[in-house]
């Protein structure tokens, strides 16, 4: 009896060790996909890049650049405690708005890198889709590095997903970051075509890449290339034309080079955020900004701003997007549009002393705004005055869009001049936002910006 039991116990123990490895095998969760599955079909691989765009379309994503940079510059008045640090230009390293601004860019870069790696590895994605997706991923990476370098200065360049490597990456100089941006955009240029891959203009195409390249060359003062790439886009007049102000931000507007499809249930997050139907609790356009920005009869003032009055107080707000919480979707969120290309080219031409050509470009924008033409008014304007005028035009054209005003003040070295009179305790180091403390404490190779 005892022997049988002993034998039985041994068999039990043995079978246990053999089978228990199998006993604890589990299936992946039903609501998620493993990395391997993701690149088994064109649709799944495409869902990675569209996942990036859907996240961009949410206000707490890159979209918060609109109001945070607007607050840091001279566009907005703040009513929200969470944004106060931006309004006062006293951003702390622990600011959650700043952390999400920074980390959202990198999170999207991570997705782009994961997509690129997935397409490099074993996969079943068709050649044409693969090319398209690689082109988009490279563009997305460049796009976000552009914002990172302009918000924070030197930043770590992450081109892979392996966290064991990326967690130690030090900051690269501004030049290197721009170099990387241009490399990515140039590669992307070879992969994309002028066709928008889906209906609507909500996924980048070749012109989107060229438009961003034009901007990058403008920022890096490579005037010739800026002019060249802006011209490339402008020349595609079958695709792109300036619209009347009230039609610019509609979906599939002819001016759109790249728009974002709004998140579920509505129109744009910008409309939701800016339009006032009560006393503001986030931001409103500053009255000084309203007074100083627009010439008389500027259609942009009448079309793109609005006000809400309660009692004796009037609050102004950007009204480029006219719809708030309606479900009939007629507006998409604009990222890149043709007007910018005209102003890029105008500036690039001015810098290259092609003043007359530059005036032509500016007049395209002025005439759309219902303003008198420079060609009629002041055809002999000096280069310096023209540059000032271009900045004035940019201010009126791009307010509340993608941080244009903040970046323009910085790159034209006007920032101290413009902001020190209106911001208490303005310091020149405030031009760069602080690297969030999560980055500096978790990656000892990353040092903080001056002044923080």
């Amino acid at each position: 009896m005892k022997h049988i039991l002993l034998l039985g116990a041994l068999i039990l123990i043995n079978s246990f060790f053999v089978s228990c490895k199998k006993l604890i095998d589990i299936d992946p969760p039903k609501n998620k996909l493993s990395q391997e599955t993701l690149f088994q079909s064109d649709d799944l691989a495409t869902s990675v890049v569209t996942g990036i765009y859907s996240r961009m379309a949410i206000s707490q994503g890159s979209g918060s650049i609109h109001h945070l940079c607007g607050l840091s510059a001279d566009e907005f008045i703040n009513y929200n405690v969470g944004f106060a640090e931006f309004y006062k230009n006293k951003i702390t390293t622990i600011s959650s708005s700043n952390t999400s601004l920074y980390s959202n860019c990198y999170s999207l870069i991570y997705s782009a890198n994961a997509l690129l790696e997935g397409l490099e590895g074993p996969n079943k994605v068709s050649q044409s889709i693969k090319k398209q997706l690689q082109g988009e991923a490279l563009f997305i990476r460049a796009f976000h590095y552009f914002y990172l370098v302009n918000l924070y200065g030197p930043v770590p360049i992450q081109l892979i997903t392996d966290y064991n490597v990326t967690r130690k990456e030090p900051r690269s100089s501004v030049d290197l970051v721009y170099k990387q941006i241009i490399t990515d955009l140039k590669s992307s240029e070879t992969l994309l075509t002028d066709t928008y891959i889906t209906t609507d203009r909500v996924r980048p195409n070749l012109s989107t890449v060229d438009a961003l390249l034009a901007r990058v060359y403008l920022y890096t003062k490579d005037w010739a290339n800026a002019e060249k790439y802006a011209s490339l886009v402008i020349s595609k007049s079958k695709l792109y034309n300036l619209e009347d102000p009230d039609k610019v931000f509609l979906k599939n507007s002819n001016e759109a080079i790249w728009q974002l499809f709004p998140p579920v249930n509505g129109n744009t997050e910008e409309g939701n955020f800016f339009i006032l139907s009560s006393i503001p609790y986030n931001v409103s356009l500053s009255k000084d900004f309203m007074l100083q920005t627009f010439e008389i009869n500027d259609k942009r003032k009448t079309n793109w701003t609005n006000s809400y009055t309660e009692g004796t107080e009037t609050f102004f707000y950007p009204f480029k997007y006219k719809l708030q919480y309606t479900t009939a979707v007629t507006e998409y969120s604009m990222v890149l549009r043709l007007a910018e290309q005209f102003l890029i080219r105008a500036e690039a031409r001015t810098q290259q002393d092609k003043l007359s050509n530059a005036i032509d470009d500016i007049d395209r924008i002025r005439s759309r705004a219902g303003l008198t033409l420079l060609r009629d008014n002041n055809p002999t304007i000096s280069k310096a005055d023209l540059l000032i005028l271009i900045q004035k035009e940019r201010k009126a054209e791009f307010f509340s869009e993608w941080g244009h005003r903040w970046f323009d003040l910085k790159r034209t070295n006007q920032i101290n001049l413009v902001l020190s009179p209106i911001k208490i305790n303005w310091k020149s180091t405030d031009a760069l936002y602080p690297i969030p403390f999560e980055e500096t404490t978790r990656n000892q190779n990353v040092k903080q910006n001056d002044g923080y």
Binding site: A9, I24, K32, S54, Y163, N265, G266, S278
Partner: protein
């Protein structure tokens, strides 16, 4: 005794024998009647009839004492009755006496001589064993001390025992009674009446459930505390966890909110894991039970807290006992799950008795016990105006509180309005139990409901059925037990805890207008708590636990056992956000109407085959257990959220939503283990207990799934040693025990080793995928090495019991979401970190039985825990993300803070030292630290019984710091006004604020400026200004009961009836600057004070 003395004694005995022998002959007697009767093989019955016929003498016997069918050969001629009877009874152990006309046959009693002879050959001692009430105790053991001679008392409690010695000591023992010694000697030869007292000492025969085996409290080698149904029954509580508060050393239970059904934090012996998984393992009737709520993560934390508490689905009244396993010896058999201790819950079983019906009904009332002293209208307005003045501003159009929009003379006590209500509680239960040797059964039903203190009709309801059936006596070949526990809970609650609204400006308008409608006061009120209540959360949950244990005894000491368990928790949540819950001033449209419908479930199947074997090996007894566990757990949830409803009325109709969004989660967890326990017991004095387990868990990457755990425990019951018996007579029990072992922790989310992508928001109407995590295939178990030493003593017949334990737990290989710099695209990755956390502590538990008289019983008990947590090592802490969170050598619960040098007497702002002088106040300046945990905690219990009255109470106490006080009132600084938020008022302590230059105080000036907000925020978050004393002494529980006298009950045919008055959280003494030092917040509902009255009947 020396030889000569023995000799003399022997001679004395002999003389007595001779003297008595001569006397004996005198006792014979003769009778005159004669009998003539000759008959072969006549039965005694016939003979006795013949005697009656011829002599008219009746022969009387006791049935059973004499077999009257016995035959003899009757050959009597003129024989005397004596001759006849002697012949008839010859050879039988019977004798007779003749009284009047009766011949009475009875058992032969030894003649005096026999008695005397036997007395001096072997001293025969007689006696009777009874209990305190005089009832005989059959089966008691009577032993002559230091010999092997022992007998059992008979059914009448009588015994006789022979001693070879003339004097000595009788040792009388009986299970459940205190043993007694009686000395005998020629001068004290008995007979003895021995009264045994019931042994109330908790140390003896109390059986402790250690999960896979049971052990007597006396012989346990591990650290296990037990709470019984009796203690639980004295508390008017809804969650069994509340019953443990303040009663178990080493167990820290914090009720996070007074909203029924919501979360508790439970820690056994401190925080072991830096990042997650500090929950103990719950096992209910052998089934592993979830420790965290199962409601869908997409609903967010319900009530703004940690969500539902699964233990709230267990009815306290159904519980027979709760055991808390703490050290390695007790927990290592749970392997990878035992690191944070184990809480075993056993539900009620039937008893071997006649059918009993037990019914109880309680009605209770709960209220918020402690209100804050907040600024009244004058003080508040003064503070606000002062803020505006300090800033050199004038009130703006939205400063409704001070710009004249709101009545400056109005005062509302918002605490009264919002949390001042009374929550009624009703408890009812009916149990039926009984059984015999072969079957025992228990069947119970119960109902509980509790309202809330908030305005409106909210509440929590629970109904349950509990049954248990046991077949076959445990000694039988086959023994089966089957338990089922089902409960349904219904929580109709609000989505947000509106307690935060007690900080509304005291002159804010009424919440309801004259017509009883929600008042938005011409769009000046943006937050109306009554409207917030419209955002409701209705949840129904079902909980079913089934456990079957099959025991098969192969041989006397070899048993095969299988435990099969299945549990299902299902929960439906229905959350609504009607548009009417938002202030119209926001101008929200129909897209803000939303409703979420969510189903969650958690299913666990467990199978645990086991073999137990007992044997005598060498000088001791060997007890072995080998077993295996297989656990399969599937959980998940799906949520559909509809938005854009046309009207608030149709929110219940999901198809009326304009848009639908759905989310689902699914998890699977598998776990397999092989475990063994070897126990060796020598003379119940030296005990050794070894446990081991090999575990595999699906939560780890393929190469890291298996690991070994084990522990050794030993105990020495030194009070049984001769030396202590002889020299320390006051010591009735003494035990030293120690244990060491390794357990593990796998409390991390599932699938962390897999690189996964989850659904993002659709783009162009098509699904998208976004990265879910960064994967790490190489992380493994967190180890916990536990060491414990303890001393248990019982003094003066166990009237005083003391247990002192010291423990040291070291947790290493910490499983942490390793924080990553955000530039990696993620904030963390699951990984093992080379850090070690140590928890050491002293635990004391005592019990004094001060009085134990028939009418008076009084005992007091106490427990105290002094925990100490320490981060022992953290290689490269300085460069890690935790650099500003922890300090090596300090507890995890410290907070690194700035040096706040009080209030700058000129500016009125917090003056924060810029340590490194770089002109900035940032993390690098946080060079000080403050402790935010417990210094010690414990409880004092008292129980007094006088006749039919019983009074019990428990005082719980904690010395601790809290990192949350009135300053964390939603993040607004003093004087700041956010017309959209409710949190502008402050406690009266802010009257001491800085008012003018030169003021020396510790509270910042009132101001709406950004600078003051920053200073306030820094002082609050990293300045330690919100770290303050939250120590408290609380009268946790009071129970007064009266047993209705038996006399009264007998007439009503009721066995037992008891009327009780019970109270929970009666009063609290604390300096804490918030609502409650336990929940430690100013904006969540504190644990409530409950008073309850009830009746308990047993039929």
């Amino acid at each position: 005794m020396n030889y000569h003395v023995r000799k003399i004694l022997f001679l004395m005995r002999l003389t007595t024998v001779i003297l008595l022998g001569t006397m004996l002959h005198l006792s014979a007697a003769t009778f005159g009647q004669k009998l003539n009767y000759v008959n072969k093989n006549v039965s005694l019955e016939q003979l006795f009839k013949e005697i009656k016929k011829q002599t008219n003498y009746n022969v009387v016997w006791y049935e059973g004492k004499l077999n009257t069918a016995t035959t003899i050969n009757a050959d009597f001629s003129n024989a005397s009755l004596d001759q006849v009877m002697n012949k008839a009874l010859s050879g039988l152990p019977l004798t007779y006496t003749i009284r009047q006309n009766n011949i009475v046959i009875k058992e032969k009693t030894p003649s005096l001589l026999d008695k005397v002879i036997s007395h001096f050959k072997n001293t025969t001692l007689f006696g009777k064993v009874t209990d305190e009430k005089g009832n005989p105790l059959p089966g008691a053991t009577i032993r002559i001390k230091d010999t092997k001679t022992a007998v059992l008392s008979n059914k009448d409690g009588n015994f006789s025992i022979e001693s070879k010695e003339l004097s000595g000591v009788l040792f009388i023992s009986f299970l459940g009674y205190k043993p007694t010694e009686i000395s005998f000697s020629p001068t004290n030869p008995g007979p003895f009446t021995v009264t045994l007292k019931e042994d109330e000492s908790i140390l003896n025969e109390v059986q402790i459930n250690a999960g896979y085996y049971t052990v007597s409290d006396r012989e346990r080698t591990g650290s296990i505390s037990k709470i019984t149904a009796e203690t639980i029954g004295k508390q008017p509580i809804s969650n069994p966890l509340q019953a443990l508060q303040g009663r178990v050393p080493g167990l820290q239970i914090t009720q996070q909110t007074g909203i029924t059904g919501c979360g508790f934090t439970v820690q056994i012996r401190g925080q072991n894991s830096i990042a997650n998984g500090n929950n103990p393992l719950y096992v209910i009737d052998n089934i592993i039970y979830p420790s965290i709520g199962i409601s869908s993560p997409s609903l967010g934390g319900l009530f703004g807290l940690t969500g539902d508490s699964p233990l709230s689905m267990i009815t306290p009244n159904d519980i027979e006992s709760i055991e808390i396993l703490k050290d390695a010896d007790a927990t290592a058999i749970y392997g990878s799950k035992g690191a944070n201790g184990v809480i075993l819950i056993k539900t009620k079983r039937g008893q071997n008795s006649e059918m009993k019906i037990n019914a109880n009904f309680f009605q209770g009332f709960s209220k918020v016990a402690r209100h804050l002293k907040l600024l009244n209208t004058d003080e508040y307005l003064e503070m606000r105006k002062e803020a505006i003045t300090n800033d050199g501003l004038t009130p703006t159009s939205t400063d409704y509180d001070i710009n004249g929009t709101w009545n400056a003379n109005k005062y509302t006590d918002w605490q009264k309005e919002i949390i001042g209500g009374t929550a009624n509680t009703t408890t009812a239960a009916l149990n039926l139990s009984g059984g015999n040797d072969n079957i025992t059964y228990f069947l119970g039903g119960n109902y509980y409901q509790e309202g809330t203190v908030f305005p409106g009709d909210f509440g929590f309801k629970r109904g349950g059925i509990q049954s248990s059936l046991e077949l076959g006596p445990s000694k039988n070949r086959f023994h089966v037990s089957f338990t089922t526990n089902y409960s349904h809970t219904q929580s109709d609650l609000m989505r947000e805890d509106i307690t935060r609204d007690i900080l509304l400006a005291p002159n804010a308008p009424n919440l309801l207008d004259e017509n009883g409608l929600i008042n938005w006061d011409n769009n000046t009120l943006y937050e109306n708590p009554i409207a917030s209540l419209l955002r409701s959360s209705d949840s129904g949950a079902d909980n079913l636990l089934i456990n079957t244990i099959l025991n098969y005894r192969i041989a006397k000491d070899l048993i095969i056992k299988t435990s099969l368990g299945y549990s299902v928790l299902k929960r439906d949540d229905y959350l609504t956000t009607p548009l009417s819950s938002y202030a119209p001033a926001y101008g929200f449209n129909s897209s803000f109407r939303s409703a979420s419908y969510s189903n969650s479930s958690n299913r666990t199947f467990m199978a645990e085959p086991q073999i137990t074997y007992k044997s005598k090996i060498g000088p001791g007894e060997f007890d072995a257990l080998i077993g295996m566990t297989f656990q399969n757990n599937k959980s998940g949830s799906s949520t559909i959220t509809g938005t854009g409803f046309n009207s608030d009325e149709v929110l219940e109709n999901i198809s009326a939503a304009a848009t639908l969004k759905s989310r689902s989660f699914s998890y699977q967890y598998r776990y397999v283990a092989f475990f063994t326990r070897l126990n060796y017991n020598i003379n119940n004095k030296y005990l050794l207990n070894l446990t081991a387990r090999r575990d595999g868990s699906s939560r780890f990457g393929e190469d890291k799934r298996f690991a070994n755990f084990g522990a050794a425990g030993a105990a020495w019951i030194f009070s049984d040693e001769h030396f202590f018996r002889k020299n320390l007579t006051f010591l009735s029990f003494g035990k030293l025990r120690a244990s060491y072992g390794i357990t593990g922790n796998d409390q991390i989310p599932d699938y962390q080793y897999l690189q996964l992508w989850a659904n993002g928001l659709p783009y162009q109407g098509l699904p998208t995928n976004v990265p879910d995590n960064i994967a790490n295939k190489d992380f493994a178990w967190e180890n916990n090495r536990k060491l414990e030493a303890a001393l248990q003593i019982g003094l003066i017949n166990n009237k005083v019991n003391i247990e002192i334990s010291w423990y040291r737990n070291r947790s290493s290989n910490q499983l942490i979401g390793d924080p990553l710099p955000p530039s990696t695209g993620n904030f963390s990755v699951m990984a093992n970190r080379p850090a070690t956390v140590q928890n050491t502590g002293w635990e004391f538990q005592t019990n004094f039985k001060i009085l134990n008289k028939i009418n008076w019983q009084w005992s007091i008990g106490g427990n105290l825990t002094i925990p100490k947590n320490k981060l022992i090592s953290y290689p490269s802490l300085e460069s890690s993300s935790d650099a500003y969170n922890y300090i090596i050598g300090q507890p995890l619960s410290i907070k690194r803070i700035y040096n706040v040098r009080g209030i700058n007497s000129q500016t009125g702002l917090y003056d924060i030292e810029d340590r490194n002088g770089d002109g900035l106040i940032n993390d690098e300046d946080r060079y000080l630290y403050k402790f935010t945990g417990q210094y010690f905690y414990g409880g004092l219990s008292n129980s007094v019984t006088y006749k039919n009255f019983n009074l019990d109470f428990l005082i719980a106490f904690t010395k601790q710091n809290s990192s949350n006080n009135y300053m964390n009132n939603g993040g607004l600084s003093l004087g700041y006004w956010d017309y959209t938020g409710p949190t502008s008022n402050f406690p009266v302590i802010t009257l001491q604020r800085w008012r003018q230059p030169g003021d020396i105080t510790s509270i910042q000036k009132a101001s709406t400026s950004y600078e003051s907000y920053v200073a306030f925020d820094k002082a609050r978050t990293y300045g330690g200004e919100s770290i303050s004393d939250a120590s408290f002494i609380r009268l946790k529980n009071v129970s007064l009961s009266y047993n209705i006298p038996k006399k009264v009950l007998n007439r009503l045919k009721i066995c037992d009836a008891k009327i009780s008055l019970q109270g929970q959280n009666i009063f609290t003494i604390t300096k804490y600057l918030g609502l409650d030092p336990e929940s430690q917040s100013i904006s969540t509902l504190p644990p409530l004070r409950t008073l309850s009255i009830g009746l308990n009947l047993t039929l």
